[in-house]
Amino acid sequence: MSATTLGSPRGSERRRARNRSPEPGGASRVQASQVLAMAFLFVMGLYFLLPVWWLVVSSTKTTGGLFSSFGFWFGHSFALFTNVRGVFTFEGSIFIQWILNTILYAGVGAVVGTLLSASAGFALAKYRFAGRELVFSVILGGVLIPGTALALPLYLLMSKFGLTNTIWSVLLPSMVSPFGVYLARVYAGSSVPEELLEAARVDGAGEVRIFRTIVLRILSPALVTIFLFQFVAIWTNFFLPLVMLSSTRLYPITLGLYTWNTQYGQTPNLYAYVVTGAMISVIPLIVAFLSLQRFWRSGLTAGSVKL
C-alpha cells in the first residue's frame, strides 16, 4: 500500500483494525516476545559465526601465536601473508594442485551430473512409458543409500580394473545424483508446458533438439539449483576420495588438509598452514554460494513438496 492512503479513511480503518488486537496488553507482550526472539537469533548467529570468525582471525597468526594468544582476537604479529605464502609453497606447491583437483571433481562432476539429471528427470516427467514409476522409485531409493556404504564395494570393483587412484575413480561416481533427478522431475513436470513440446514436434523438431533448445532453457534456473546441490555434495564428500586416492597429487583440498592435520608432529608450522588453508578454501565458496541463495531456497521448496 502506498503512503498516500495514510490519513485517508482507509488508513484510519487500518489503524483501528490494529488496535482491535486479540487481547488487552497484547502490544507490550508482542514487544517482549520480539525482544526475546531477537535475543535468541543473536545467540544462534553467534554460535554459527564465531567459529568462522576464529578461522579468519587465526589465519593471521603464526603457529606460536595460535597457542599463546586469545583465540577470538588478533595476536601481536600479523602473519597472514607469510601463512598464505607457506600454504601455497609447502611440499612443492601441492595446495595449488589440490585446488585444481577440487575444481575438477566438484565443478566438472556437478556440470555433467546436472545435465544427466536434467535429461533423466525430463524423460520421467514428460513421457509416458511402461515401467516409468518403477524406474523413478528405484532412483529415489538411491537417495536413501548411504554414500559410504557404496564407496567400499566400489573401491574393490575399481581396483579390479586398475581404476583406483585415478581421477576417474572420484569424478565418475560423483556424477550420479538421484536427488538431482528427483528435483529435475519436479521442475520439468511443473514448468515445461505440454503444448510447447507439441508445437515444437509439429514444427518437425527432433526430441533431442527440443530438449537442447527448449527444455534446457526453461529449466535453466532449476539447473543452477541442481548444480549447487551437487557441487556442495561433491565438495563435502570426504569418504570417496579417502577410499579411492593414495597419491597426494590427486587429492581434493579436503583430503589434503586432512592429511596435513595428521602431520603436526613432523612439521609444527603445519598448524598455521592448516588453519590458513582452510580459510582460503572456505571463504570464496561461502561468498559464492551465499550470493546464490535464492537458488537454494527454490530447490529446497521443491524438495519438500512431495515427500
Binding site: F67, A120, L152, V176, V181, D203, V282, W296
Partner: protein, 321 residues
C-alpha cells in the same frame, strides 16, 4: 518456430501424419535416449556396488599354509559375517552409540532449525536476511574442515572456549574426554546442518498461503497460536524430510570422528559403524567383513528412515481424523 508460419495447408497434413506415425516408436525411443546416460552410471556406481557388496559379504578369505607366504582362498560362508558383526561388541556398541547420538542430536538440531525458521518467517523480527545467511553458512563447509576447525576449539591450549570457561565457575572442561567426546561431535554436526534444515523448513513456511494466517488472526489467534496450530502442522512434511535426511546422515557418521581421532583417545577405530567398516577394509584387510557391515548399515538406514516415514504418516493421519 518461424518455419510454422510459412508451412502451407497442403504441407501440414502429411507432416501431421508423419508425426503421428513416428509417435509410437518415439514413445519408447525418446525417453530411453534421455534416461540411458543417467541409468548407465546409476547401474555402474550404485546398483552394481550394492550387489557386489552383498555378494562378497557371503564369502570369507582364509590363508592356507603358514601365514606369510600362504596362498589365500575365498570360500562361501553364507551369513557368517553377519553373525560375526551382530555379536561383535565393537559393532553393537558402535550402533548403540549412533542411536544414542541420533536420539539426542536430531531432535535438538531440528528443534533449533524449526524455531529459527518460525522466527525468521515471523514478520516482526529484524535482520532476517542476515540471520538466514549466517545460519546457512556452515553448510558450505565440508565435515572434515568443520571437524578440524572445531577440533581447535576443543583442544586446551589453543581453544578460546576452554580458556574462557576456565575463568568461570564451570572450570576446566574436557571436550575430548570420555564423557563429552560424543557430544562434541554432535555439536559439530548440529553446527553444520541446523542452517540447512532451517532453510528447508523456512522454504516450506514461505510457500504457505499468507491469507491463511490473516484469517486465523482475524479469528483472534495470537502469533504464537498461528505458529503452533497452523504453521507447524502445515510444514510437517518438511520436518519429516529433514528427519529422514538426518537419520541417514547420523548412521553414516565418519568424517568428524575420523578427524577427532587424532585428538581424543576415547574415539577409537570402531567408534561408529562406518569407521569400523573402513578400518576392517583398509587396516585389517578384511573387505568381506567390511562389506557385511556396510550392508547392515544400509539395511538399518532403510528400515529406520522408512519406519520413521510410516510412523509420522500414521501420526499425521491420526491428527487429521
Amino acid at each position: 518456430m518461424s518455419t510454422a508460419a510459412v508451412v502451407t495447408t497442403e504441407e501440414v497434413a502429411p507432416q501431421r501424419a508423419r508425426v503421428r506415425r513416428g509417435r509410437s516408436s518415439r514413445k519408447i525411443a525418446a525417453p530411453l535416449l534421455f534416461l540411458t546416460p543417467f541409468l548407465l552410471l546409476f547401474a555402474v556406481f550404485i546398483l552394481i556396488p550394492i550387489g557386489y557388496s552383498i555378494y562378497i559379504s557371503l564369502f570369507s578369505v582364509s590363508t592356507s599354509g603358514l601365514g606369510l607366504s600362504g596362498a589365500t582362498s575365498q570360500h562361501f560362508v553364507g551369513l557368517h559375517n553377519y553373525g560375526t558383526a551382530l555379536t561383535d561388541p565393537a559393532f553393537t556398541s558402535g550402533v548403540l552409540r549412533m542411536l544414542l547420538f541420533g536420539v539426542v542430536q536430531i531432535p535438538v538440531m531440528l528443534g533449533l532449525a524449526l524455531t529459527c525458521a518460525l522466527l525468521l518467517d515471523w514478520g516482526r523480527v529484524k535482520l532476517r536476511r542476515f540471520f538466514r545467511l549466517a545460519f546457512f553458512l556452515p553448510y558450505g563447509i565440508p565435515g572434515v574442515l568443520a571437524a578440524i576447525l572445531w577440533g581447535f576449539l576443543y583442544v586446551p591450549g589453543i581453544s578460546p572456549i576452554v580458556s574462557i570457561l576456565g575463568h568461570t565457575p564451570v572450570g576446566h572442561v574436557d571436550f575430548l574426554g570420555q564423557n563429552l567426546a560424543l557430544w562434541s561431535i554432535a555439536n559439530i554436526v548440529t553446527w553444520e546442518y541446523t542452517g540447512y534444515n532451517m532453510l528447508i523448513i523456512f522454504a516450506a513456511l514461505q510457500a504457505l498461503p499468507r491469507d491463511l494466517f490473516e484469517a486465523a488472526r482475524l479469528d483472534g489467534a495470537t502469533d504464537w497460536k498461528v505458529a503452533t496450530r497452523v504453521k507447524i502442522p502445515l510444514v510437517f512434511p518438511a520436518l519429516v524430510l529433514t528427519g529422514v535426511f538426518s537419520i541417514i546422515g547420523t548412521l553414516q557418521l565418519f568424517s568428524e570422528p575420523e578427524v577427532m581421532r587424532t585428538l581424543s583417545g576415547t574415539i577409537t577405530s570402531t567408534y561408529t559403524p562406518n569407521l569400523m567398516a573402513y578400518t576392517q577394509a583398509f587396516t585389517f584387510n578384511n573387505p568381506n567383513y567390511a562389506a557385511a557391515i556396510a550392508v547392515l548399515l544400509a539395511v538399518g538406514t532403510f528400515i529406520l528412515s522408512f519406519g520413521f516415514l510410516k510412523f509420522t504418516q500414521r501420526r499425521a493421519a491420526a491428527a487429521v481424523a
